[in-house]
Symmetry: C2
Subunit: 467 residues, 2 copies
């Protein structure tokens, strides 16, 4: 089992970058991070300027026999990204959405594809690919929606564990307002299926060290009140986290009002069902009212901001600055395939762009800086999924969930250092460290993610790259 694999003690020597706070990146050009045989960070040294400085560090910790990995190619270490909202089952539709908005998009594009994953061989193909793909983009933790199918959902959990990606795997619960061909037959059937998936994960990763189940009522319109309540009851009884959607699109909000006339608000639908807790991930939250924000804050529920999806489906712009200022915890989600990209680096950019559009109407304070967007993609996301004691930054005692970033360089004649892979980032040599990070954020892609580790285990490396 991946969780139990011992790895070789390793010292990663070179620059590292991670979030110190929401506003501030900690950029250390001369670092050395020791990762122990359990995949935990044993030490972080900041003054390892020369090759000769490594030996005293290993001596200091009694790590003379450890493996040394040096950061190359203008690169740096960065924490793995945490995708707080992604539909693994929709991955093949990435980039396909046409001119649709949420409700027609579900019927035209999404339900037919999800339904087809009852075929396990198709599910295997899709899930192998989405996990490999997100790992290649540096996503070390993902909160996945699968489908309603038990065997295919369990297969996704198996694949995450085998490939070593930290994941929350949710069987989608939906017993209403969905096509005949794709829904839970009854509340009882839905709960039985949900429990089967929980037990499967308990069987393959008893401590939920790498893979965890997550209770996943699709969204209010897809579930009857009774079904939501049963899911909420299971959430409270088991302490297993839950995830759902909220307030993405105005028509959806109207629909929720019609379907749940007794509820004070969309957020109240979940709250009444016992589904609004400190272990709840709410995707979108684009149009929350002040009362709903206060309720979300009070319950300490978390929000997954999905900027790419909200723009592509013209859902609206979440007011991320307001949410943060009100003390609500926010992370970023790709929302594949409402979102058009499986890349969290693209989400960092998209969070910046959406905040610029909000600033055009609400004023400059709405702008998210690059530093803030990177925080949301790492430490913010870690809080959203409840793993902030374990991952999100380079802190002693936490797990080594990290990516090695490399950047291309430009020769004196203007040719590039990496003609083979076509590195999208050009470093000229005169840049400050802050500018190198900016170039990665705004021009980089998976080609710059040379290697990825989860809990110390190498889970991805760019073809041809030797760490």
């Amino acid at each position: 089992m991946a969780a139990a694999q011992k790895i070789k003690r390793t010292v990663y020597v070179g620059p590292f970058v991670h979030s110190q706070s929401l506003q501030k990146l900690d950029i250390c050009p001369t670092g050395a991070i020791g990762v122990d045989e359990n995949g935990k960070i044993a030490f972080v040294e900041r003054d390892v300027k020369d090759v000769g400085d490594v030996i005293p560090v290993t001596q200091k910790y009694g790590w003379q026999n450890s493996q040394i990995v040096r950061i190359k190619d203008n690169g740096f270490l960065f924490p793995g990204f945490i995708d707080t909202h992604i539909h693994a089952s929709q991955y093949p539709n990435t980039g396909i959405f046409g001119k649709s908005t949420l409700l027609d998009w579900l019927n035209d594009y999404t339900f037919p594809l999800e339904s087809s994953l009852s075929d396990l061989s198709k599910a295997r193909r899709v899930y192998n690919r989405v996990v490999a793909r997100t790992l290649s983009h540096g996503t070390t933790t993902a909160a996945y929606y699968a489908t309603i199918h038990v065997p295919a959902t369990n297969l996704l959990a198996d694949i995450c564990l085998a490939r070593g990606q930290r994941a929350f795997v949710g069987r989608v619960c939906m017993n209403a307002m969905s096509p005949e061909y794709y829904r839970d037959e009854s509340v009882e059937a839905a709960m039985r299926s949900t429990r089967e998936c929980i037990e499967h994960v308990r069987g393959i990763d008893p401590g939920f060290e790498i893979v965890s189940p997550i209770i996943t009522p699709r969204f209010a319109p897809s579930c009857t009140t009774e079904c939501l309540r049963e899911q909420g009851k299971l959430h409270r009884e088991t302490g297993i986290p839950c995830q759902t959607h909220i307030s993405e699109n105005k028509k959806e909000i109207e629909l929720v009002k019609e379907l749940f006339p007794e509820s004070k608000s969309y957020a109240d639908v979940y709250d009444s069902a016992g589904l609004l807790t400190e272990k709840t991930i709410l995707a979108h939250a684009v149009h929350l009212t002040e009362e709903e924000k206060a309720l979300v804050k009070e319950r300490e529920a978390k929000i997954s901001h999905c900027p790419a999806s909200n723009t592509a489906l013209t859902s609206g712009c979440a007011r991320v600055r307001q949410l943060i200022d009100q003390g609500i915890t926010v992370g970023l989600g790709t929302d594949v395939s409402g979102g058009f990209s499986p890349s969290m680096l693209e989400m960092v950019r998209q969070a910046v762009w959406v905040s610029r559009h909000v600033a055009m109407t609400d004023g400059d304070q709405a702008k998210l800086s690059m530093e803030e967007a990177l925080y949301l993609a790492t430490r913010g996301g870690a809080k959203v999924v409840g793993l902030h004691q374990k991952v999100g930054g380079f802190d002693v005692g936490t797990d080594w969930d990290a990516q090695m970033i490399s950047l291309g360089s430009v020769a004196e004649d203007g040719s590039a250092s990496d003609e083979i892979h076509g590195d999208p980032v050009d470093v000229w040599g005169w840049e400050e460290w802050e500018d190198r990070v900016a170039k990665w954020v705004y021009n980089g892609d998976d080609r710059n993610t040379a290697a990825v580790w989860v809990k110390g285990r190498l889970v991805h490396q760019r073809p041809g790259f030797q760490p």
Copy 2:
């Protein structure tokens, strides 16, 4: 000289895609396009389904000895992109803009870099890289701003010609409101320098077949009234096109009002100087008034929409649908480095996103479809730079400015066809042609641009790719 090179008659066999109209893509899965020894499209056949169908086509045209190039890897041919606004000299700053808006961005980031290109060895490094980079993204035509320096600007023209990229190369004219260290010393000096650059291009490419000069007053605040008038006079006398910026940022607009109190509007500043004609490219046009739009329309001046830049610098959202509906010609520009990417495919996406944000306030009719954004990047851009009789689509008699797109495929076990280059697009095999194009548009990058031709000449190929 590149323009005179003869090439081998070639038939490109396979799917092709280009714009039939603003709203409609012409997708032909079974095409054969003949390109003659002058780089012109001699024929377009649409029904070449099998290998055996190629011979009758070559016989029909007496092209039995021509070279055959087959489209591979789920790919298709697409017209080269036309970048209607890019600052070649700012390329090294791509992705670096921090929290700035236009006027502080100019002073903090831009003028120092541009000024440093007086060093010819630095200019060579930068210009070689930006031309190679934009070619790799499928940009077959670019309207470049260089710097104020004559030798460096001439070098950019040389590099474009040598590498075979169709280009408009503009020496930047600026004699006011600019730092002491970076401005034209006088109107006379400015005009002399502008003329020297025009004559240089005439010397290396007399018919302006590949490289053309372009008169480039930076923007109104950078030029005195007299300087603008002299540039306008040269524009009228020579018939050489001109390019400048308009109405990008609200503070800039206020500044123009202060600097040109006698003018009725920002557009009127250019019109009064004789700089608003059917051969004028105006970048941005974010905040044009109704009167200005009417004037732009009347003069048949063209607009370069720069969505990435306008979002990054929080300049605002150009109302592209309104401009188009009013009969104004619009193309797309990267606006490197106010824009954070040299990729026109990224601009296609960004044009779609910006239009979604406009739609959130102005209503659904503001949305640009993928088809419309692709039109703007090809045929629209061709009209903007005045080359629509030559490039922008696959029409008989026009030049072969094209790119070959390839797309990755997913194996039955979920592994990818191209582990070496890490193709960003996954094709599963069941997609309609429209969806394949959408996947390229929303997930693709330069890795999907396998080969690029200008006027029939192969000017870029992805490493390892054999066309």
